[in-house]
């Protein structure tokens, strides 16, 4: 058995055991009917879809896609690095749209979506920088270089940090929402330049392999594995976004209860 095969099998086994234990514990404390309802809830089904998709993507990355001739096995980082970068950009696209909606309609939900998208997008951006660095070292001989694409991705990371810091440190939530919406809209310029960087300038970072002109392209099996992986990461992004939105909903519920209690005690 190859090491990849073994790791995939071991991961699947551990995951199956974990899911069975969680369902068992839930059924023990809440009863089998509630456990069944929780297991078939929309979020649980989304998790199941995400895990199955990731499993297929992992299989395709290691077994379906051929080994790249020049870089060898390390090229397989490509299948996680590109989807992470895509999801980080997707995060800021969502922030941009939600911020526009917030400024136009003053909808609290749009503001919550923007905040949640920023937190999840930040995680994917970290993933993109980490995997990129780990790929650059064996291929370029350096961990990092101030090339336009890398610099703009780092700038995106700084924008995410600034956005989240504003959220944490500003005392007035309404002012924080306004300011963050402006940051979200202005920061979107970086997303466009970041996406176009490898098309506008000749950079150390490889030129685009999809929609990159007549000389770009990939082996069909590598392309298929990449697309499945991009789909899996997008699905994971939306799953984490939904978890984060559920948290925001609970926070809102908590503050409403606190307000009711404060009102009751002041009336009393």
């Amino acid at each position: 058995m190859s090491p990849f095969n073994f790791i995939l099998l071991a991961l699947s086994g551990l995951l199956a055991i974990y899911v069975a234990v969680r369902i068992g514990k839930y059924a023990y404390s809440h009863g089998p009917r509630e456990a069944l309802a929780a297991a078939t809830s929309s979020l649980s089904l989304h998790l199941l879809l995400t895990l199955a998709w990731i499993w297929v993507a992992l299989y395709m990355m290691f077994f379906y896609a051929p080994e790249e001739a020049t870089m060898g096995q390390v090229q397989r980082i490509f299948y996680i690095h590109v989807p992470c970068g895509w999801s980080a950009l997707l995060g800021f696209i969502i922030i941009f749209i939600a911020s526009m909606v917030y400024l136009a309609k003053r909808s609290v939900y749009s503001d919550e979506v923007a905040h949640a998208a920023a937190e999840v997008g930040f995680i994917f951006n970290c993933g993109s920088l980490i995997t990129g660095s780990l790929w650059a070292k064996p291929v370029w001989g350096i961990w990092w270089t101030w090339d336009p694409r890398l610099t703009l991705t780092f700038l995106l990371w700084l924008l995410y940090v600034a956005y989240l810091m504003l959220r944490s440190y500003m005392v007035n939530p309404s002012r924080a929402a306004n300011l963050c919406a402006v940051v979200g809209i202005i920061g979107f310029i970086d997303v466009i330049i970041d996406y176009m960087a490898i098309r506008w300038w000749r950079t150390q970072h490889p030129q685009p392999v999809i929609a990159g002109g007549p000389n770009s392209g990939l082996d069909p099996r590598i392309l298929a594995a990449l697309l499945v992986s991009v789909g899996a990461f997008t699905c994971l992004y939306f799953y984490l976004l939904r978890l984060r939105l559920r948290l925001a909903e609970s926070r809102r519920e908590l503050s409403e209860i606190r307000r009711t209690l404060e009102l009751s005690s002041s009336e009393g």
């Binding site: 996680i80 995680i123 970290c126 064996p138 984490l240 908590l254």
Partner: protein
């Protein structure tokens, strides 16, 4: 696996996959932890709500 391939596999490919999944798992775990803490707090406060409401009503 060639020698260079094996070296890259251990030093770069495995850490890239490992660190990335660790990042996702830690984030999902932190979300679940924050969620359960909030739910617990909500449930605690909800038990005070029916007590608070009649006392508020009696004030009128």
């Amino acid at each position: 696996l060639g020698l260079n391939n094996a070296y890259n596999l251990i030093h770069f490919l495995a850490p890239a996959f490992g660190l990335l999944w660790l990042l996702f798992v830690l984030y999902a775990w932190s979300l679940a932890r924050r969620q359960s803490r909030l739910r617990r707090e909500i449930e605690e406060l909800k038990t005070k709500l029916p007590l608070a409401k009649p006392s508020g009503a009696s004030g009128h």
